[in-house]
């Protein structure tokens, strides 16, 4: 992994040096121990700040979209002939690359506006999970080696199985290596346990209906409508979220439980054929709402009904951008 980080810094520096990119979005070490945080590098010498390790959590595609669209909006004030293109380099693991593919399919930017620095991924440590595994103890330092993670806490050192600290989405990730890249840094990582991808969803599907509803109700009751999920989601790039729209106002803004349910339901539905299961929303949620339980279902249905795996290939068509005469009719009511 250190090898990859080294290559990353070299490659990033070179791209900036050669002005192939205007900015590189990557991760730098966080202020807290055992964290990494997104950073934006515009100077070659800053490339040394870049890190690549198991604490790099967020899906950076979000920032690619934001930067390019902000730039494009700013350029609208410029005469068409004087408009400039902004090229963004991005450190992309599998899920990030899939988000980029989705954005490209949804024409959010052109392929030549993004340079993808592909990194193989073995999963990232999900802070809330780690903390839970430590019983809430403070992390002073954490080192990942092989299948385990060694954590220094004020109470001493603890060695945990890495799988107990990795994000759920990583454990069964099918696309831990980038699906597209301009530069691939390092060899492809070994596959994760993708066969068990839908186990949780299947189990939930088989619960009695009232239990499912109770769970949904319980989870949604936690939500404080901080919209962190939306803000972190690389697929949530609407200019004005339906939640913020008036005329009509789709969802009430009061404290009614159903308003929260409906808000989440609608946002989740917007992820049909669009969620890459990067875990960003889960990771940022301050209340620990089990969003993945629902998102993964949409993913499963997309596969079952439309043979779609979100962002897996540029050639695929997002399921709601298309239709077929032969789509299944089995949900149609026939009296």
């Amino acid at each position: 992994m250190e090898n990859i980080q080294k290559k990353l810094r070299e490659e990033a520096g070179r791209l900036l040096e050669e002005k192939k990119v205007d900015v590189i979005v990557g991760y730098e070490a966080g202020t807290l121990p055992a964290t990494a945080t997104p950073c934006f590098i515009t100077l070659p010498e800053e490339a040394q700040k870049l890190v690549w390790n198991s604490f790099c959590t967020q899906n950076l595609a979000k920032f690619v979209h934001d930067m390019i669209s902000q730039h494009r909006n700013a350029q609208k004030r410029v005469k068409p002939e004087d408009r400039k293109k902004k090229v963004v380099g991005v450190v992309a693991r599998g899920c990030t690359s899939r988000s980029i593919v989705l954005c490209l399919q949804e024409r959010q930017y052109n392929r030549d506006e993004v340079v993808i620095l592909g990194v193989p991924c073995t999963g990232y440590v999900e802070r809330k999970k780690l903390s839970a595994a430590l019983g809430g103890e403070e992390v002073l330092e954490a080192i990942v080696a092989g299948d385990s993670i060694t954590v220094k806490t004020p109470a001493g050192e603890k060695k945990l199985a890495l799988k107990d600290a990795l994000a759920d989405c990583c454990l069964t990730c099918r696309f831990n290596n980038p699906v597209i890249s301009d530069v691939m840094l390092g060899e492809n990582a070994a596959p994760m346990d993708a066969d068990r991808e839908y186990e949780e969803v299947t189990a939930f599907e088989n619960l009695p209906i009232e239990e499912r509803w109770a769970y949904f109700e319980k989870e949604m009751a936690k939500c404080i409508r901080c919209y962190a999920c939306r803000q972190a989601c690389p697929s949530c790039y609407c200019a004005i979220c339906f939640m913020d729209q008036s005329q009509p106002q789709w969802v009430g803004i009061g404290e009614d439980a159903t308003d929260t349910q409906v808000f989440q339901l609608m946002r989740l539905y917007h992820m049909v054929g669009r969620c890459v299961d990067c875990g960003s929303c889960v990771s940022v949620c301050p209340m620990g709402v089990d969003l993945r339980k629902f998102l993964k279902k949409l993913d499963k249905d997309g596969l079952e009904m439309f043979n779609n795996r979100v962002g897996a290939s540029m050639e695929d068509v997002p399921p709601l951008s298309a239709y077929s005469e032969n789509d299944k009719d089995d949900f149609i009511f026939n009296p």
């Binding site: 949804e106 959010q108 200019a239 951008s321």
Partner: protein
């Protein structure tokens, strides 16, 4: 009035099936006025009856209905139903068309289509729409979605019973009402014309029964006793029926005589509002009814009860008040405003023989009167009655009842001449009365002044006399004496008119009767009227009733100062509905009328007839044949709140001036009963294909459930027999009907979809799947649905008695005789010329071809033999829907080409008031809730809904209307909008699908933007479907109104976008289609650019020499090219390619590359006529042997008399070379005709030439079948091969040897031939896809262009402004290309004739701030009307292309796209208000 030389900008379209509708729409949309003439009651034709359409299995009604609505609402189309064209005079451009209009009996301008009339109609007849598989009412609409949506009454004429009844009661009407259990209504109907049903139900001579058509089947309906049945019910009822009395008119009428005539007159006058007094000399009322007819026939209490109703109505009857001495007649004349004399004939006629004054002689009238007034009269044991009338019968039967033992009749003629009612005679004989016929009294014999006998003489019958009966002649010397104790002469009566003194002025004639006017019953003195026996001499009760009734009408008119006779004389023998063939009506015996036993009745005056019970009455009434169809029971008149029904509607004539005529009368399906061997009409489970179509239809008789007629069970094995009435010279129909192979395939597939277990088998001669994608359809039927196709025609169908299954006998191709059982048989009946073809052709002045279809020009299949008169659809020959639609547009193009200069001159464009500016006003909603007569109001509490609406936010006005769609309500609505300053209008009534446009117009006329209108459907979707739940229906109505009001608050005034139209045309391709289109555009006055890749014009057509039908194509093409060259409106670019096409409808810019460089021009529409190519084959030694040619090569050799062709002794042709194979699974359509053409030419060259055609199916569809027939007659040989066993060809010396399996011989044969001609198929232009991309239009899987809709829009693309014709669309014959080219012009003219294209009002729009340009809208839009503008970074709608479906809006996560008229705010408001 137009000048004779001036053309008229209007076209008449005769026939309103899909052909007529399409032609009308094209014409009307390009600025011409259209009269759409239909002989039936509504438009739609056969297509409305179809379930699905091939080859896409689209729902026929679904695709047709919007067209019906469009034509129905089109301001430039006037639909004229029930019209027959009688003659067309004049010149092309200026015709006078004379038509007759048959009565509809329902005023379309008033009818709201609610159907209340049909609900009450007692007459059910087989539904022609459902092909007699279900019933409809006599008051009906052809089918639910019919346009005009108004009803009509089906009348064949006056039923004979009604016509023959002297009072003209609607006899069929009350019989029908009895049959449906509506007894009170029946009585009311009777009393409308006769106030004496109790009497006439007993003692009428019922001429109605004499006329009854049922008598020709078995016995007449027992009408009289049915009348008695309902009259007796009323009699026993607690409250008896008394008619509504009009307001008093303050005038007095006197009636002399309380007999049937006088009392009838009194009854109707009293009901009219007059004060009537009746003066009667006897102590009882009823006249002869009271004192003449014996009790056992008409009980006194019953009669009194009948008269009581008349008194209850207000008539004053003065008994024992003879007019004369104490009450002089002149006094009556003074005291009353009018007088009616109905005093009857009360004196007996004398025998005038010696001894008539002896004791024991008592005249019949006096005898009956005495008995009836209660006197005990005993005449002795032996009583003779002289006479043969009813009085004689009454006297003789009374005598029996008063104790006489031996009572007999002496009558001078035979029984056949007896005027008494037959049942009277019968009853008398039953009671033991003897009758002596052909005897006449000569002298009364007596002793001491007392009768002892009567001397008679024998008679014989001579010539008929004035009465029509044979005159009796005395046989001399045959005198004999009959002993008797009493003699009753009953031979006639006379009036006693002593009271009519000379000073009254009323004249009396020599028969001591009055002479009165035959219609008005007025005497010579104004104000004095007379009727009944006193005018006619002794007659029947009903005649007296009729006289009294008619006199009442006259008296009313007289007293109101109106013309008494106007409009009253009616010839009842005209329009008599007695012409029906009753031979097939099953026999059902007349109900036995219950009588008292004869042995019991001899001693009593108790009534003989006992009367029907309810069950008997209903059963008897149901025997009625409903001769007139409509029974004229007038239930509909009472039910219709809109007052739209007029039973007196009559035939009318009218003349209309038009510039051109298009004949589109369609076709008739073959009458399958002509082919008796198939058992149609005899075996229940043999149906025609169109019946099966109805069986399959969800709106059909069985709601789409496939079932047998005999037992309603779902069949398993079902056989389709093709060519019933087609390709069949035995019934005179030599032609192929073109559509049956396909519709049978479709019905088999749909049948199987409806009933999974179905096993359809199709018996056929050739499968003719010659249309676009047809072969694919048949392949799917075989491979996916497992439908069995057997190449054989069953020779017979026999029904198995037990199971009602059908045994088919047929011979397989290899000669085996097979018998197979099926549960149902469907006959694929052919298409024949319409029944009115000959008459219509005569009226239009056009010729028919030999089979009775319209004769057309070879150069233009829509041109008839008369200039300015065009034809389209199956009238020109059998064809399917897309061809019909193309011809319709083509005929429209020809008509509008003729009248181009007069466009826009006959259409009315309404001036609309300036739109009110509603900014800043806020929602002020007006709510109009409709009763729709009782359709809504009868279920929903409409006033309650109105009150509720008033409480809702922003509602400033709410009201209810009886009919919101009526003209007066429209005016009122306009006033309210202005007075109340309304900014939103909500109507709660019927369906917006039919009425939204109308109400929007009301808004517009009041200055309110039409999009500020909203509807709530509280009829079709509420009151009609919750008829038995008024409370729930009212709640639902309130909810729907609330939802509509909620939505209305968010409605915005919309201004549909307008876009200029460039009037030039780009035509891609200079083949026959392209140049035909260019010339047609030039006729219309539009400039076109033909862009042709090749160096010259003509395309494939240039390689032809003649057509199958004999058109010289070289000459034809040269003429066309010459016209193109001369035309100033056509610019030709040959050797030119298209580089780029930009823009959209109305605004295109095209760049072309010519040899001289690039060129650019602008145009408004595009015609794609890129053509096709002859397939290049390598099969069958083509290219290797110079003896192997294509058909085209052969044609050239024949035409140019090439030695190779002339020398060849044997010529063989192989069909389907490169067509109908897996890689090219379509039929090339023309090859069979080309083969036939060349074969016939070869035979013409030398009949000895040996010509063989090796084929898979011969597809000489339509009238081309005759050439196939001719070829066979000329000994052209036909050998079939199967796809998987293609013939093999090898060269052997200077000959070719063809080896193939002959399926009939079932062995391999070898043919030697000098020449081999290959029928190679067509391939699409390889550049189609590229051109398609430039125009954003699709090609299909074979590479031909894909039309917007294969059935109804075969020339259009889904993208507006682009049209196709010729082989760009599919392989076709030259005449097909000509038709389609003209059709494309017609379609294009609907755009080019406009200065602006108006966009839909309800289109999508983009909120740019929200849009993130993700492109989901673009991906989902079916019309390429929305696209992401990459430079702007947001989506943009092309409002002209947008059809307003809103798919983009629901796809948009950002809600950046929204839909006018159905935007998110509006719909969410509805949801929230639910």
């Amino acid at each position: 009035m137009a000048q004779a030389s001036e053309k008229i900008g209007a076209v008449m379209v005769v026939g309103s099936g899909i052909a007529g509708i399409q032609a009308s729409l094209d014409l009307a949309n390009s600025g011409l006025k259209v009269y759409l003439v239909e002989k039936g009651i509504s438009i739609g034709g056969v297509m409305a009856q179809l379930d699905k359409t091939f080859p896409t299995n689209d729902c026929s009604a679904c695709i047709l209905s919007p067209k019906l609505v469009e034509v129905g609402r089109h301001p430039n189309v006037e639909i004229l139903t029930r019209r027959t064209v009688e003659s067309v005079e004049g010149e092309p451009g200026h015709f006078k068309v004379r038509m007759t209009k048959a009565p509809r009996f329902i005023d379309l301008s008033k009818c709201t289509g609610c159907g209340d009339c049909a609900n009450v109609c007692p007459i059910s007849v087989p539904s022609d729409f459902n092909e007699n598989l279900s019933e409809r009412k006599a008051t009906y609409r052809h089918f639910p979605q019919a346009i005009p949506s108004g009803f009509a009454i089906d009348k064949l004429g006056t039923s004979p019973c009604k016509a023959n009844c002297p009072t003209h009661i609607s006899v069929q009407g009350y019989v029908a009402l009895i049959a449906t259990g509506k007894f009170k209504e029946a009585l009311k109907l009777i009393k409308k014309d006769n106030p004496f049903p109790i009497v006439c139900g007993r003692v009428c001579n019922h001429p109605c029964e004499t006329a009854c058509m049922r008598g020709k089947v078995d016995e007449p309906i027992d009408i009289m006793h049915l009348k008695r049945f309902v009259a007796d019910l009323d009699l026993k009822d607690e409250t008896r029926y008394i008619p509504d009395k009009k307001e008093s008119k303050g005038k007095k009428v006197a009636v002399v005589g309380a007999g049937p005539a006088g009392l009838t007159c009194a009854y109707y006058l009293a009901a009219e509002g007059y004060d009537v007094e009746v003066f009667e000399s006897l102590p009882v009322a009823g006249g002869w009814l009271a004192v003449g007819i014996p009790e056992y026939r008409l009980p006194k209490d019953v009669l009194r009860a009948e008269i009581k109703v008349i008194e209850d109505l207000g008539v004053k009857i003065h008994l024992n008040r003879p007019v004369g001495k104490d009450l002089p007649f002149v006094q009556l004349q003074k005291d009353f405003d009018a007088v009616f004399i109905g005093c009857g004939t009360v004196n007996s006629s004398k025998l005038n023989i010696p001894g008539e004054d002896m004791q024991g002689v008592i005249h019949g009238v006096d005898y009956l009167k005495r008995v009836n007034l209660g006197e005990k009269v005993f005449l002795g044991d032996k009583v003779a009655v002289v006479g043969g009338g009813n009085v004689a019968m009454d006297a003789v039967r009374t005598a029996i009842r008063t104790g006489s033992k031996d009572v007999f009749i002496l009558y001078r003629r035979s029984r056949a001449e007896m005027p008494a009612a037959p049942e009277e005679i019968e009853e008398a004989l039953e009671e033991g009365i003897k009758m002596e016929f052909l005897v006449a009294p000569k002298r009364v014999v007596g002793e001491g002044g007392k009768v002892t006998g009567i001397e008679c003489t024998r008679m014989e019958l001579g010539e008929p006399d004035a009465s029509g009966r044979r005159r009796p002649i005395e046989i001399k010397g045959s005198e004999f004496v009959v002993p008797c104790d009493a003699l009753i002469p009953a031979i006639g009566q006379e009036a006693d008119l002593g009271f009519v003194t000379p000073e009254s002025g009323v004249a009396i004639n020599k028969w001591k009767n009055f002479d009165v006017d035959g219609v008005t019953f007025a005497t010579n003195v104004p104000g004095v009227f007379a009727g009944g026996d006193v005018v006619t001499g002794p007659q029947t009760v009903v005649k007296a009733v009729f006289a009294g009734k008619e006199a009442a009408v006259s008296i009313d008119r007289y007293l109101q100062g109106e013309d008494m006779a106007a409009g009253r004389a009616k010839d009842w023998t005209k329009d008599l509905a007695d012409k029906a063939d009753v031979s097939a009506v099953p026999k059902a015996p007349r109900a036995k009328y219950p009588h008292m036993k004869p042995e019991e009745r001899r001693t009593t005056f108790q009534e003989v007839g006992i009367g029907f019970d309810e069950e008997e009455a209903v059963r008897e009434a149901q025997r009625c044949l409903a001769c007139g169809i409509c029974s004229e029971c007038y239930q509909c008149v009472d039910a219709c709140i809109a007052k739209a029904i007029n039973h007196d509607d009559t035939f009318e004539e009218e003349t209309i001036e038009v510039g051109a005529v298009i004949a589109a009368p369609g076709f008739e399906t073959f009458d399958a009963s002509i082919r008796g061997e198939y058992g149609f009409g005899t075996y229940a489970n043999v149906v025609t294909a169109i019946q099966f179509e109805r069986i399959l239809s969800a709106s059909g008789p069985y709601f789409g459930h496939v079932q047998r007629i005999s037992d309603g069970k779902e069949p398993k094995k079902i056989a389709f027999i093709q060519c019933v009435g087609s390709r069949d010279t035995s019934c005179g129909n030599s032609w192929c009907s073109s559509v049956c192979c396909m519709y049978a395939t479709k019905e088999a597939i749909i049948g199987k979809e409806h009933a999974k277990e179905l096993e359809p088998t199709i018996f056929f001669m050739d499968i003719r799947a010659h249309g676009k994608d047809f072969d694919r359809f048949v392949n799917r039927a075989k491979n996916e649905y497992g439908i069995r196709y057997i190449r054989s025609m069953p020779s017979s169908v026999k029904e198995l008695q037990q199971s009602k299954n059908l045994l088919l006998k047929y011979v397989t191709e290899d000669g085996k005789l097979v018998e197979e059982e099926f549960e149902m048989v469907v006959l694929s009946v052919g298409l024949t010329p319409p029944p009115e073809a000959a008459k219509l052709a005569k009226a239009l002045g056009i010729d028919l071809e030999e089979h009775g279809f319209c004769r057309t020009a070879l150069e233009n299949p829509v041109q008839t033999t008369r200039g300015g008169v065009f034809v389209c659809g199956a009238f020109g020959g059998p064809k399917d829907i897309p061809e019909t639609v193309m011809e319709a547009s083509s005929a429209a193009a020809c008509a509008s080409g003729l009248l181009a200069e007069r466009r826009g001159t006959m259409i009315t464009e309404e001036e609309l008031p300036l739109e009110t500016d509603i900014r800043g006003v806020g929602p002020r909603t007006g709510v109009f809730v409709c009763h729709c007569g009782i359709n809504i109001g009868g279920v929903v509490d409409v006033p309650g809904v109105v009150e509720y609406a008033k409480t809702l936010p922003n509602v400033v006005f709410a009201t209810d209307n009886l009919f919101t769609c009526s003209q007066d309500t429209a005016v009122k609505m306009g006033e309210v909008i202005k007075e109340q300053n309304l900014t939103r209008v909500v109507v709660a009534s019927c369906s917006p699908r039919t009425h939204e446009g109308l109400f929007q117009e009301n808004c517009e006329k009041a200055g309110l933007n039409r999009y500020l209108f909203e509807m709530a459907n509280i009829r079709d979707q509420d009151s009609w479907v919750h008829m038995h739940e008024p409370e729930a229906a009212t709640e639902k109505a309130k909810d729907l109104v609330r939802m509509s009001i909620a939505k209305a608050q968010f409605l915005k005034p919309l201004k549909p976008g307008q876009l200029g139209v460039n009037k030039n045309v780009l035509i891609i391709g200079g083949g026959l289609a392209g140049i035909t289109a260019a010339l047609s555009f030039a006729d219309q006055g539009f400039q076109s650019y033909i862009v042709e890749k090749k160096p010259s014009l003509g395309g494939n057509y240039a390689s032809l020499y003649y057509t199958l039908e004999g058109l010289d194509t070289k000459k034809h093409l040269a003429g066309l090219i010459d016209r193109v060259k001369k035309s100033e409106l056509i610019q030709v670019y040959t050797g030119t390619e298209i580089k780029k096409i930009e823009g959209f409808i109305g605004n295109y810019k095209t760049t072309i590359t010519t040899k001289d460089g690039e060129n650019q021009f602008e145009h408004g529409v595009v015609i794609v006529a890129t053509g096709g190519y002859e397939l290049e084959t390598k099969e069958y030694l083509y290219g290797q042997s110079d003896r192997v040619l294509t058909q085209r090569d052969l044609e050239k050799m024949i035409a140019e008399k090439d030695a190779k062709a002339t020398a060849a002794k044997s010529i063989t042709m192989i069909q389907c070379v490169g067509s109908r194979i897996p890689e090219r699974p379509y039929c090339s359509r023309y090859c069979c005709s080309e083969a036939m053409k060349n074969a016939l030419k070869l035979k013409e060259m030398d009949p000895e030439k040996d010509v063989t055609v090796i084929y898979r199916d011969i597809r000489t569809f339509g009238l081309k079948e005759d050439y196939y027939k001719k070829a066979r007659e000329l000994n052209v040989k036909f050998v079939r091969y199967d796809e998987d066993r293609k013939p093999e060809v090898r060269a052997e010396g200077d000959k070719l040897v063809i080896r193939l399996l002959d399926p009939i011989l079932n062995e391999t044969v070898e043919l030697k031939t000098d020449l081999l001609a290959l029928s190679v198929g067509t391939v699409p232009n390889p550049e189609n896809a590229e051109i398609g991309k430039m125009l954003k239009v699709p090609t299909n899987q074979d590479g031909f262009f894909l039309e917007a809709h294969v059935k109804l829009r075969p020339v259009d693309f889904a993208t507006d402004g682009v049209f196709m014709c010729g082989m760009a669309h599919a392989p076709k014959l030259s005449e097909d290309s000509i038709v389609q080219a003209n059709a494309a012009v017609s379609r294009a003219c609907t755009i080019l004739t406009k200065d602006f294209i108006e966009a839909e009002g309800k289109t999508a729009y983009v909120n740019k701030e929200r849009c993130a340009a993700c492109g989901l809208c673009e991906a989902n839009c079916p019309f390429s009307a929305i696209a992401v503008d990459l430079a702007e970074g947001c989506a943009a709608v092309n409002a002209v292309l947008c059809k307003g479906c809103g798919v983009c809006t629901a796809s948009c996560r950002m809600n950046a796209v929204d839909l006018n008229g159905f935007n998110n705010e509006e719909v969410l408001a509805q949801i929230a208000a639910m």
